[in-house]
């Protein structure tokens, strides 16, 4: 009883809670407006998107998504009238602007590149990172602190500074504008994060588990496989998502080292243009599709976020 009353002495008062809650909710709502605006713009027609004053209420349209996935050519009304009935929503929308769909745009290939490169590099980084983290956590590695610091310090270089020699190196090796080259590069960038995070997670698994398994006749490798890995699943999953988000969001290397076949979505989205300037609904549509996976991951990760963004330095 005395404990609870002592507690209530320092607990914030109801008024202060209400004030704090109001300010936080206001901040959250204001900070989320740009994202809601992207989402809303993706369902606007191009004239609606550039209306003054900015339109909050509008007739939703799929034109942005249609323009994102297709390339179009302008035709005369006579020609369009001579065509058969429209085959789909996009066909119909586009014809209203005196245009016909000429073919698919580059968005899908770029999006698929993003998927391949993000998942490929994440798999490699987590694989290498788990092995190294286990090594650093369980074996007496000489100069372990120096090696760990070396691994971290590779993260401090400005990406453009790294990109200059990488650009030359990839040109020599024929890795320019290839998915393999980007996977290697992102793996190298992400492996430092993976080692630091996973070492923290593996350090938390008691050594006794493996030792017991080894006394039971497992080899060190089997003990690692059967006792440590299953225990580290949460940590490995969280690390993987962090690596995935980095690779997914990365722009500097992608913009400088890829231009065509291996280009990812972030350098592609800003290049979407319509007639007479940037086609904002299409850009918004691309941005929305690109951001949705990240929103899902953020919600999944919210308990591990702190650890991830501080390289495991703060664990709560």
């Amino acid at each position: 009883m005395s404990l609870t009353s002592a507690h209530s002495v320092v607990a914030p008062s109801a008024t202060s809670k209400r004030v704090a809650g109001t300010i936080i909710v206001l901040y959250a709502l204001i900070s989320i407006v740009p994202l809601l605006w992207i989402f809303a713009t993706s369902f606007k027609t191009p004239p609606d998107s550039i209306a003054y004053p900015p339109k909050i209420l509008f007739q939703p349209s799929l034109e942005g998504y249609c323009n994102l996935f297709s390339t179009r050519t302008r035709q005369t009304p006579e020609y369009i009238n001579s065509l058969g009935p429209a085959t789909g929503v996009c066909d119909e929308t586009v014809r209203k602007r005196n245009m016909v769909i000429a073919g698919p745009s580059n968005f899908m290939p770029r999006f698929i590149n993003s998927l391949i490169i993000a998942f490929g590099s994440t798999f490699c980084a987590v694989f290498l990172g788990t092995l190294s983290a286990y090594g650093f956590s369980r074996f007496k590695v000489p100069l372990a602190d120096d090696l760990l610091f070396f691994i971290l310090s590779t993260r401090m270089m400005p990406p453009i500074a790294v990109a200059i020699p990488i650009y030359l190196m990839y040109r020599e090796l024929g890795l320019s504008d290839t998915a393999l080259g980007m996977i290697l590069l992102y793996t190298a960038v992400n492996v430092s994060l993976a080692v630091w995070l996973l070492k923290g997670f593996i350090d938390e698994i008691p050594r006794e588990y493996e030792e017991a398994a080894m006394i039971d006749g497992y080899t060190r490798l089997q003990a690692f496989w059967r006792t440590v890995l299953p225990q580290a699943t949460t940590g490995i999953a969280a690390t993987a998502i962090f690596c995935l988000i980095f690779a997914w969001n990365e722009y500097a290397f992608a913009a400088l080292l890829t231009s065509g076949t291996a280009q990812t979505a972030p350098p592609f989205i800003p290049t979407i243009i319509g007639e007479g300037g940037q086609d904002w609904p299409a850009v918004a549509a691309g941005t929305t599709i690109f951001l949705v996976p990240i929103l899902v991951f953020t919600i999944l990760l919210r308990k591990q976020l702190l650890r991830g963004i501080t390289f495991g330095a703060v664990r709560k």
Binding site: V9, V10, P12, S16, R18, G21, I23, I24, V25, S31, I32, P34, I38, A51, Y52, P53, P54, G129, L131, Y134, G135, F136, F139, L143, F150, I151, T154, P158, P159, I160, A161, V162, I164, P165, L168, M169, L184, L185, T187, A188, V191, V195, T219, R220, N249, Y251, A252, L256, A265, P266, I269, P270, A284, T287, F290, L291, T298, L306, I309, K316
Partner: protein
């Protein structure tokens, strides 16, 4: 370089093997613990040597030459320290460094102030605080490039939402609010977007700091009848300080390297008013193709980040020990 790297690696592996304690080092199916340690760690080290360290040494070599990547067949001349001397005397580089300093200073100041305040408020644990915290965290997870590109739209003088909101509040006509075209406003346009994006980051770390303060300290302060004001300045702030400093370190390094968001939002313009160091580096390296010169600049930037970060970490450790 490759040879030197391999020897270094072999030596590391050797000492790994020697240092692993004897009882653990039993042979199992041909792989000893020593062997396993080396097998587990070396792929990572090899990859980093190939993709990070080798290019770094290459960049150091290039920084002493007049090499130009767009003319690979031209004879490469060793120019000694000429590139470094020219950088230190280059007016444009100094302007870029000032732009970077302005950007880093204001973003960190604003993010720390707002981030700490938000964390302090969230720590009241009002109802629903977990949900709203997650909402606040969203901007920092997004791609800075894609977000920078979209803020260009929000900043448009007439049709943009930002300009409209400002004119709604202040009464200044929306057509006159050219955040990206006005020379004196443009440097603030990048500060605003970065603050919007990364304040949650500082907030999250500060929140961890506040939650790490044991409650009994406050209870003792209550017993001593210390005022709320006094408690804040002599308990809350000093005990959260290492966390705040950690957040500042991470944000400082990141913003010193800032490229993606600024490149897409302003591209360094108008003129060179928002040309932070990384943008200058990109222009020199990939537009003017002065590879040797830009490599020297890259090395200077890297040494600066590395040096400043090291000094800062020493200070941080001192604060932690107090």
């Amino acid at each position: 370089m490759t040879e030197a790297g391999l020897t270094m690696l072999n030596r590391t592996a050797d000492s790994v093997a020697r240092a692993t304690p004897e009882p653990l080092a039993r042979k199992v199916r041909g792989i000893s613990d020593k062997g396993l340690a080396w097998l587990f760690i070396s792929p990572t080290i090899l990859l980093l040597l190939a993709i990070n360290i080798f290019p770094l040494f290459w960049a150091i070599y290039l920084s002493f030459t007049n090499y130009r990547a767009n003319r690979p067949n031209e004879v490469v001349r060793n120019v000694g320290l000429a590139n470094y001397k020219r950088i230190l005397g280059d007016q444009d580089i100094w302007i870029a460094m000032q732009t970077t300093a302005h950007f880093v200073f204001w973003t960190i100041l604003l993010q720390t102030l707002i981030g700490f305040t938000l964390a302090w408020l969230i720590d009241r644990k009002f109802r629903g605080h977990a949900f709203w915290t997650t909402i606040i965290l969203v901007p920092m997870m997004l791609s800075p490039a894609v977000v920078g590109n979209f803020w260009r739209f929000l900043y448009e003088p007439q049709i943009g939402l930002f300009a409209y909101a400002i004119s709604f509040v202040t009464g200044i006509p929306a057509t006159q609010i050219g955040m990206l075209s006005n020379v004196s406003l443009a440097p603030w346009s990048i500060v605003i977007v970065d603050t919007w994006m990364w304040t949650p980051y500082v907030m999250l770390i500060c929140l961890a700091g506040l939650r790490s303060i044991p409650e009994y300290i406050y209870e003792a302060a209550e017993v001593d009848r210390a005022s709320n004001w006094r408690q804040f300045w002599s308990i809350t702030l000093p005990m959260a300080l290492p966390f705040i400093m950690l957040a500042v370190l991470f944000r400082g390094i990141e913003n010193f390297k800032m490229f993606d968001m600024v490149n897409l939002l302003t591209g360094g313009g108008p003129g060179s008013t928002t040309e932070v160091a990384s943008i200058t580096l990109k222009r020199q390296a990939f537009e003017s193709w002065r590879t040797g010169y830009s490599s020297a600049f890259a090395i200077i930037l890297f040494v600066a980040v590395f040096g400043l970060a090291n000094i800062y970490v020493k200070a941080l450790n001192k604060v932690k020990q107090r």
